[in-house]
Every structure is written in structure tokens, then in C-alpha cells.
């Protein structure tokens, strides 16, 4: 292989995916959250319980509901309010905490 091989190889293999820093950070954050949830589960196994949600859920269920509803909160923000997703992100972070604790 020639010099600068790793960068060349990455560009050759994944260039078509058109990575950006924003999306890269996004996926790494999701991955990090999944790792944290796994470690949390190993340290303290979840108990299925009933909170303010109409169904009884485990921690993983609430995490999934949180991620999915966060996506829709972002979409609703873009559709109804417009630009400025930082606020939507803040709302989602708060929503996730509330959901995991009281959901």
C-alpha cells in the first residue's frame, strides 16, 4: 500500500456514503447511548413497571419510545416552527430524561 493508506482506504470504501461531521456525531451519539444503556442494564437490570405511559415498559422500551418520539419532535419542530433545531434537541433531551424516570 502507498502512503496515507488509511485515509485512502477509508475514502475508497466509505466515500460513497458522503459522511459529514454532523451525521457522524449523530450516529456516534446513538451508539454511545446504546453502550451506556447496555452497561446500565448489566449493572442494574431493568424491572418492567407502569409509569405515566399507558403501557408497562422496561427501560429499553422507554429508551426506544424516547428515540422514536424524539425523531417526531424534531420533525414537528421543522414542520411547525422552522429552523433552529437546538431548541428541539433540548426539548428531546428533557423529554428523554422524564420518560426514562417517570414513563
Amino acid at each position: 500500500m502507498e502512503s496515507g493508506t488509511l485515509a485512502d482506504w477509508l475514502e475508497h470504501s466509505f466515500g460513497w456514503m458522503a459522511w459529514t461531521w454532523v451525521t457522524g456525531t449523530f450516529f456516534l451519539t446513538i451508539l454511545g447511548l446504546l453502550v451506556v444503556m447496555t452497561v446500565w442494564e448489566l449493572a442494574m437490570p431493568t424491572v418492567q413497571r407502569k409509569g405515566f405511559l399507558p403501557i408497562s415498559t422496561t427501560r429499553g422500551d422507554r429508551f426506544f419510545i424516547g428515540l422514536l418520539s424524539s425523531a417526531f419532535i424534531h420533525l414537528a419542530w421543522l414542520g411547525l416552527v422552522g429552523a433552529g433545531l437546538t431548541w428541539a434537541l433540548a426539548i428531546c433531551a428533557a423529554w428523554m430524561v422524564v420518560l426514562l424516570r417517570y414513563g
Binding site: G15, W16, M17, A18, W19, T20, V22, T23, F26, F27, I55, F64, L68, A71, F72, L75, L78, G79, G82, A83, L85
Partner: protein, 290 residues
């Protein structure tokens, strides 16, 4: 007996996980990447942030396509699930008629999607089609290329013809799996035919009906080939379903960014609705056991 918790069996699903990663996760990530950029071809990408998402969310044509799609999927489920259960109930349970019925029912499932579209496109034609021409001879002004209602009837009929057998086969296998003891107990109690259906057969069919509803919803929500072949989305936009609009954007206009943003919203909708169906139907099952 104490169960030994051991999660090493998860390693056995590693090959499937890698396969799914290759076939689903990596393309999905690429779509996410495309959705925030503008493509100029030749690997040149410009970051545009949330612009495509805002465009897509405020696009009236997409709102119409989404409503159309929901209407189509709702109609398909409303027709195919009850019809499938009814046909399964009416099918013989033993003898030579069983394989005959099963094979006849399975035939539409074996036809490739584009052939299904071609069959119905010919079948519904007014000049040479068996259905279209018969209707015209009977004095019905049927024309699926001009009348939106007729186009819808054709597309829905086609989907019913194509996919109801799947619901029937699932329900039939579910019905055959009910132990005879349930029916004997019902006969001793003097239960009516409808009571047997509502209290024995329908609850026992929950598992297969879950699968039937999920499969039929997802397939009808993502339907592309058959209406594309039969009506091409017309007349006007009457049968322009989501995936037809999406393909038009991505392939014909090569607007990769907006098409990717559209795909993600489409994906999230499918994910949400499937999750709701799945949760609802599995929870009903748990409520019964308590």
C-alpha cells in the same frame, strides 16, 4: 431449579447481525448522510442542514400522497383481514379438497409483482380486457385510465386478489393449530357457531393475525410495482402512492437530498405504525392471561 443466566448464545446471531448491518444499517446511514447534503454528482456534496427536511415537510404534494397512502393501506387491511379470516373458516379441514384449495390460493402469491400489474392492466382494459370489456358490455362506464375512482377500485381489487391468500394461509394454519378439545368443550357447553368464533377461534388466531396485519400493512404502505405498472400513478395523481413519488424524485429527477429526507420520514412512519400495531396486539395477549 435455578436457571443459569448465560448470554453467550447471542454470539450465534452474530452472522445475521453482520448481514443486516451490511444490507440495512449501512445503506440507512448513507441515506441519513445524503439527507443533509446537496448532490452535484461526481462525489461533490454540499452540506445544507435541515433544508430538505423543511422542504419535504411543507410540501403539499407529499401530504396528499401520505393521505392517499394511509387510505389505501387502511382499505387494504379492512378488506383483506376479514375476508382472509372468512375464507380460512370456510376451507375444508381434511380430505383431497385441502391441497386443491391451498394450491389454488397460493397461486397469486407466486406471481411476480410486475406480472401482477400487467395482468390487471390487461384485465381491466375496456377494449380487450375481460373485466373492463364485460363491464362495458353490461352498460357500466368503466375506465380506469380516466376516472380516479375506477383506478382506485382496480388497484385495490388487484391487491386483494394478490395478497388476501397470504392472510388466508396464515389464518388457516392458525385454525388448524387449535386443539380439538376446545371445540369439544364448546359443544358440551352448547356454544353457538358465533360464540365459538369470538371466544375460541379469534383469540387463538391472534398470533397469526398480528403477523398478517403487520405484513399487509407494511407491504401495502410501501407498494410500488403493481400500481406503477397499472396506472403509473394516474389519472392525474389519483394513485400516486408514496413510493412512486419517492422513486420519481430519486431516480428520474435525481434529487438525492430531498429523496433521502423523504425516505427517512417514510421510514420513521413505518417504524412508528409497526411499533404501535405490535405493542397493541401483544399487550392484548398479556391482558388475557392475567
Amino acid at each position: 431449579m435455578d436457571k443459569i443466566p448465560n448470554n453467550r448464545a447471542w454470539f450465534l446471531i452474530l452472522p445475521v447481525f453482520l448481514l443486516v448491518a451490511f444490507s440495512a444499517l449501512i445503506p440507512l446511514m448513507a441515506v441519513v448522510n445524503y439527507s443533509v447534503q446537496d448532490s452535484f454528482g461526481g462525489g461533490v456534496w454540499i452540506f445544507v442542514g435541515d433544508e430538505w427536511f423543511r422542504d419535504v415537510l411543507t410540501d403539499g404534494r407529499l401530504h396528499d400522497a401520505l393521505l392517499r397512502q394511509l387510505g389505501f393501506s387502511g382499505l387494504v387491511l379492512l378488506i383483506q383481514i376479514p375476508l382472509g379470516v372468512l375464507i380460512a373458516l370456510a376451507m375444508p379441514s381434511r380430505g383431497w379438497a385441502v391441497p386443491v384449495c391451498l394450491i389454488l390460493l397460493a397461486l397469486p402469491l407466486l406471481v411476480p409483482f410486475n406480472v401482477v400489474g400487467t395482468i390487471w392492466q390487461l384485465f381491466a382494459r375496456v377494449d380487450i380486457g375481460l373485466m373492463g370489456n364485460t363491464l362495458r358490455e353490461m352498460g357500466v362506464e368503466f375506465n380506469y385510465t380516466d376516472d380516479p375512482l375506477h383506478a382506485w377500485i382496480t388497484v385495490v381489487l388487484m391487491d386483494v386478489w394478490h395478497w388476501t391468500p397470504l392472510v388466508v394461509l396464515l389464518c388457516y394454519s392458525g385454525l388448524r393449530a387449535i386443539p380439538p378439545a376446545f371445540y369439544q368443550a364448546a359443544r358440551i357447553d352448547g356454544a353457538s357457531r358465533s360464540a365459538i368464533f369470538w371466544y375460541i377461534e379469534l383469540p387463538k388466531l391472534r398470533g397469526v393475525l398480528t403477523i398478517a396485519v403487520l405484513l399487509r400493512f407494511m407491504d401495502s404502505f410501501m407498494i410500488f410495482t403493481e400500481p406503477f405498472v397499472v396506472t403509473g400513478g394516474g389519472p392525474g395523481n389519483a394513485t400516486n402512492f408514496l413510493s412512486i413519488v419517492l422513486t420519481n424524485w430519486a431516480i428520474e429527477r435525481r434529487d438525492l437530498g430531498p429523496a433521502a429526507a423523504f425516505s427517512i420520514i417514510y421510514f420513521l412512519l413505518v417504524l412508528l405504525i409497526c411499533w404501535v400495531f405490535y405493542t397493541a396486539i401483544t399487550r392484548i395477549g398479556q391482558a388475557d392471561k392475567r
